[in-house]
């Protein structure tokens, strides 16, 4: 009889063969080989013997009824304790509907959904604030008292930066000019901010109008304190870089854009602001301009 399998291949399949775990075709092949090979037959017998030995060694001992009763009572006691604890959900406390409603997967899904909703609301709120920031800025400039200067006034009126009484004259128009641009482009935050910055760069009175964002008390105190004593900075928008220089910082709705305006005190007559508000990212980058 021609052997279908060699001994090596047959021996590899013996562990499964002796327990009937081979498919039918393979079982026939191994059986045919064993019929012709005494050595493989001996190995198969050893496999069977070891399985018998294992079964005998692992025959479960007799466990008494008390042993099983002890297990059940321990489990039921624990289950009973869990049932009396209101915070512990259990299959016994909940109906199948409620148990399925508060299944772990559903709880995870619900938590995730709540987190998504919260994130969406936060994003919407942030977007709403960003849209209204230019409007607020425009509103602040409209509230400024700085006058709308003539070209001469633009050169000669740096003092309007600080004193609110000087800033009051003609401020409406200038403020309006400043305000118009942000208001027109209120829906486009970056453009509005850029417009305000450009005007601040070109016109000193325009810069003065920005002073309107500074609380009046702070502006007054800056004027009253004079150059030497420094100005109490407003927490919101003003910092004092030097006693002689008024410093105004305006944080736009874009966190990457900040307008910093430095101006000499009202006693000094300078034609131009000390610095341009191009010092965006460096609040400490200021110059001590002309004091006279």
């Amino acid at each position: 009889m021609k052997r279908q399998l060699n001994c090596q291949r047959a021996c590899e399949m013996l562990p499964l063969y002796v327990a009937g775990d081979l498919e039918e075709t393979r079982t026939r092949e191994v059986g045919a080989h064993l019929a012709a090979c005494a050595e493989c037959r001996r190995l198969a017998a050893e496999f069977s013997e070891s399985r018998s030995l294992l079964a005998e060694a692992c025959a479960t001992p007799e466990f008494s009824a008390e042993f099983y009763a002890g297990i059940r009572s321990a489990v039921l006691d624990r289950v009973g304790r869990d049932r009396t604890t209101p915070s512990t959900p259990s299959a016994f406390n909940a109906s199948p509907f409620i148990a399925s409603l508060f299944g772990r997967r559903l709880a995870y899904a619900a938590s995730f959904a709540v987190a998504l909703i919260a994130l969406a609301l936060a994003l919407q709120h942030a977007r709403h604030n960003a849209q209204h920031a230019p409007t607020q800025l425009a509103q602040a400039t409209r509230d400024a008292h700085a006058p709308t200067p003539t070209p001469n006034q633009k050169r000669d009126a740096p003092s309007s930066l600080l004193p609110d009484d000087a800033a009051q004259e003609g401020s409406t128009q200038e403020s309006a000019n400043v305000a118009i641009t942000p208001r027109k482009r209120a829906t486009r935050r970056d453009t509005a901010t850029r417009q305000v910055e450009e005007r601040a760069m070109k016109d000193a009175p325009t810069a003065a109008s920005l002073v309107a964002t500074v609380p009046r008390a702070t502006v007054n105190s800056a004027r009253d304190a004079g150059a030497s004593s420094g100005v109490e900075p407003a927490r919101a928008a003003v910092s004092q870089s030097a006693p002689e220089v008024a410093r105004i910082e305006i944080q736009t709705s874009d966190p990457n854009i900040r307008i910093i305006w430095l101006a000499p005190p009202p006693s000094q007559k300078t034609g131009e602001p000390e610095t341009s508000p191009n010092n965006r990212e460096n609040p400490h980058n200021h110059e001590n301009g002309d004091r006279k």
């Binding site: 562990p15 499964l16 063969y17 002796v18 327990a19 009937g20 775990d21 079982t27 026939r28 191994v30 059986g31 045919a32 064993l34 019929a35 037959r41 198969a44 017998a45 050893e46 496999f47 069977s48 013997e49 070891s50 399985r51 018998s52 030995l53 294992l54 079964a55 005998e56 060694a57 692992c58 025959a59 479960t60 001992p61 007799e62 466990f63 042993f67 099983y68 002890g70 297990i71 059940r72 321990a74 489990v75 039921l76 624990r78 289950v79 009973g80 259990s90 299959a91 016994f92 406390n93 909940a94 109906s95 199948p96 148990a99 399925s100 299944g103 772990r104």
Partner: protein, 219 residues
């Protein structure tokens, strides 16, 4: 001739308990499961009574001593209680229970190893009692009884040295009598994987037994 040889080799093993079909299992446990999920404590207790022997047997075979088997059985039923609401109707409860039992035994064995609190094999006294009963009845002599008892203890030790997955597959397949598909379902793996694990485990046990028997009973 080949069929006769196959018959001899394949029926040399122990008498396995009769396996009822999966459908019968599902039908038998379904009412108890439904009532237990609805809050019936008596139904849950009945469920335990129906299955505790299997659970304890598997736990004892995987862990090797009564104390650990008892702890594992308790923990198994606590998990069954906890997750019963998630058990899908129509699913094989027995396979689900086996899976929990195997996982509990694995966790307990790791915990014992981590704390250095491994229990000794307590099956030897049982086998000694049985062996000496045979001796008393004249079925064996004292030396062979002692030798046999030692051999069985060494085989159990060989089982304990197997990798976790191979040991679980071998216990469920060869000692519990589950089919390869049932073992795969219980362990959450595929039949081809179970066959590979079982084949490897049997080969290792056979090598261990060869040394045991060919060298006069000492490993």
């Amino acid at each position: 001739m080949a069929a006769e040889i196959a018959h001899i080799f394949m029926t040399g093993a122990q008498e396995l308990p009769p396996r009822t079909s999966e459908r019968e299992h599902a039908d038998r446990f379904a009412p108890l499961i439904s009532r237990a999920r609805a809050g019936d404590a008596h139904a849950f207790e009945s469920l335990m009574i129906e299955t505790e022997q299997r659970v304890v047997a598997v736990a004892w075979r995987l862990l090797g001593n009564r104390e650990d088997a008892r702890d594992a059985a308790q923990e198994t039923y606590l998990r069954v209680y906890k997750y019963l609401a998630r058990f899908r109707e129509g699913e094989d409860f027995q396979a689900w229970l086996y899976r929990i039992t195997v996982n509990v035994c694995r966790d307990l064995a790791r915990k014992r190893r981590a704390t250095g609190d491994e229990q000794l094999d307590d099956a030897e006294p049982e086998h000694e009692r049985a062996a000496f009963e045979n001796l008393r009845h004249g079925d064996a002599d004292a030396e062979s009884v002692t030798l046999r008892t030692q051999q069985l203890a060494l085989v159990r030790r060989a089982l304990a040295t197997l990798p976790e997955r191979e040991r679980a597959a071998l216990v469920l397949r060869d000692l519990e009598g589950l089919s390869t598909e049932e073992v795969a379902h219980a362990l959450g793996s595929r039949p081809v994987t179970v066959r590979s694990q079982v084949s490897s485990a049997r080969a290792k046990i056979k090598i261990y037994c060869d040394r045991l028997l060919r060298k006069g009973g000492t490993a």
